[in-house]
Symmetry: C2
Subunit: 360 residues, 2 copies
């Protein structure tokens, strides 16, 4: 938090800004700042990435950065961030330095004490399965959560520049202490990732002829296990103490599960606890999932049906809160589940039935 919590930080950013690392996130930040009229200087260890990002409108590439840099945004691979931040604090002795990595405490620990006031950690929640400057987009952060993790060492002017950065990108700022941030991402991202890895890794012991019995459930649980091990190694290693603490809790729960397997009532209570946890995740616009009703429509697996389906939903004129497709590869049809408000659910159901769809 800024020193004087009664005075909100001044949130202005004129630039110039230096972005180090022109991947998806760095280049997208560059696009948003450039669109706002701020001069952005792009750097990347791979010069062609910076040039591609500049071509996407993320800023300019010049032999040397401009004078009087106001803010440096470090957007390099996770394992490199502490070193690059340190280096940026040296190279730009008057600038605020921030980064976009998903782990924060490890960076703060690595900074020289005399520079600590100028480093303000941040974490835009814009993760995606995609990487590289080609997918850069100024709208990547609109309505996304952007966590800012100031410490007592940060003067308000430095915090204010990072707030301005997030606001220019269109994100919603969430304040967290760095250590609490790392605990939160361990809980809602890193541990779920590892649970997916554990589930998928267990398949190595499963005979191949058992795999055709797999349904949609295991496919959902193991989807994120397909992510890049080289990237996740960096993320997890950087947050290993928080991850370890959470995994210890999971291990205790697993031991409890092994105990209650023989006790139907206790087992059901255990399962109900999981269902309550799944339902506690917020839906779109931050509303609780319980505030919505799911309408499920059967989709025949024939060409053009999805197009017709979405046309009909569009004509129903309801506000689709969230949607998911249950597409079982071995079936002639799948299911589309749409979350809408209770008032709209009745209207949507009537409309879709009239249009000839089977509701489930």
């Amino acid at each position: 938090m800024p020193d004087d919590q009664s005075t909100p930080p001044v949130t202005t950013l004129q630039g110039p800004v230096v972005i180090i690392g022109a991947g998806l996130v760095g280049a997208s930040v560059g696009c948003a700042l450039t669109a706002a009229g701020i001069t952005v200087h792009l750097e990347d260890r791979v010069p062609s990435h910076a040039i591609v990002a500049a071509g996407r409108g993320a800023g300019v590439v010049t032999a040397a950065p401009p004078d009087a840099v106001e803010l440096v945004v470090v957007a390099t691979p996770p394992a490199t961030v502490p070193g690059v931040v340190d280096d940026a604090l040296d190279r730009f002795p008057n600038a605020t330095v921030t980064d976009v990595a998903s782990v924060k405490a490890i960076i703060i620990e690595s900074i020289d004490a005399e520079d600590a006031g100028r480093y303000v950690g941040s974490h835009p929640m814009a993760g995606s399965q995609f990487t590289g400057p080609l997918t850069a987009d100024a709208s990547l952060f609109i309505d996304r959560t952007w966590v800012i993790t100031p410490t007592a060492q940060n003067p308000a002017e430095h915090v204010g520049r990072v707030v301005a950065l997030a606001e220019i990108c269109g994100a919603r700022v969430v304040w967290l202490d760095p250590v609490e941030h790392d605990q939160a991402v361990a809980q809602v991202s890193h541990v779920p990732h590892l649970m997916s890895i554990l589930t998928a890794g267990h398949l190595r012991e499963v005979p191949t002829h058992h795999l055709p019995l797999a349904g949609q459930g295991i496919r959902d649980v193991t989807r994120i296990a397909g992510s890049d091990p080289a990237l996740w190694r960096q993320i997890l290693w950087g947050n290993r103490s928080a991850v370890r603490a959470e995994l210890a809790g999971v291990r205790a729960d697993l031991d409890e599960l092994l105990q209650v397997l023989d006790e139907p009532d206790a087992l059901e209570a255990f399962l109900a606890r999981g269902r309550a946890g799944a339902r506690s995740l917020p839906g779109k616009h931050g509303l609780a999932r319980e505030d919505f009703v799911t309408v499920t429509i059967q989709i025949p697996d024939t060409p053009g049906m999805l197009a017709k389906l979405f046309t009909d939903i569009g004509q129903a004129g309801v506000n689709v809160e969230d949607l998911s497709i249950e597409h079982d590869p071995s079936r002639q049809y799948g299911y589309l589940s749409i979350d809408v408000t209770p008032e709209e659910a009745a209207r949507l159901s009537t409309w879709m039935t009239a249009a000839g769809w089977n509701l489930a």
Copy 2:
């Protein structure tokens, strides 16, 4: 396996057939058999369910079952199956009796020795989030896996009737020993379900203000944790010994993970093992996932875009192998990922780009 493995069982079924339990699966079996011209008698503990199922074309409801019943299909809730199977073997002393439950060994253990030859376990892989006779559909099993679990006690004529049942329903028969079947479903269904439960249950310890940091990953992992605890209690309890054995393996893996968290190379190898496991799951038509290429298209979150998207994909004329939507609730857009053959991927990419879509 049938007694004489060199002679395939005679696979004929004339009926009449009695179906006990007129939920989604029982009523759908009834619809498929009725459509094939076989007389089906429906029973349900809740008489209105049988009547609704009859209304959906699943068979007839009469005061007493017909004479000379050839096959009884037990499709009641999991915990009741052993008792209902036992009872059916008594009530229909000349009939073959099968069931559709997802756990098999526990049923065989409960049968009187003199009736063991007439009970042939089976398990159509037609699980769905939906229940009840209203969603019954004769095509529910088409191209689905239908596991049959005969024992050495089963004469070929009894096995043949169950094979005929699966074939009339349009399913692909897979043979497994009952104990191996239970191990297989523990591996690919029950343990993944519990991993989802463990992940979701851990959220109870997470402060509410951490939840906005949740992304799509944890939503995928925890989706099946939202399933009915009262149903899953029955499934898991019935297969608790196989589930326990698999969970012990997961626990050992978790301990290994806790050890490698501090060793980046070993951690990456652990993550790569998970990715390999996720990729080992077969895709549509049983082909390996590696045989396909994923084309990912950005979907702006504006009305009508999904309809336009699917229309354009339809016009591209490619064979969509599998699809998934990454729909982040807090973003202005989502992503549609489509698996196609490598040859079609290039054509689809060119077509969609020309139609104005952003590929990622």
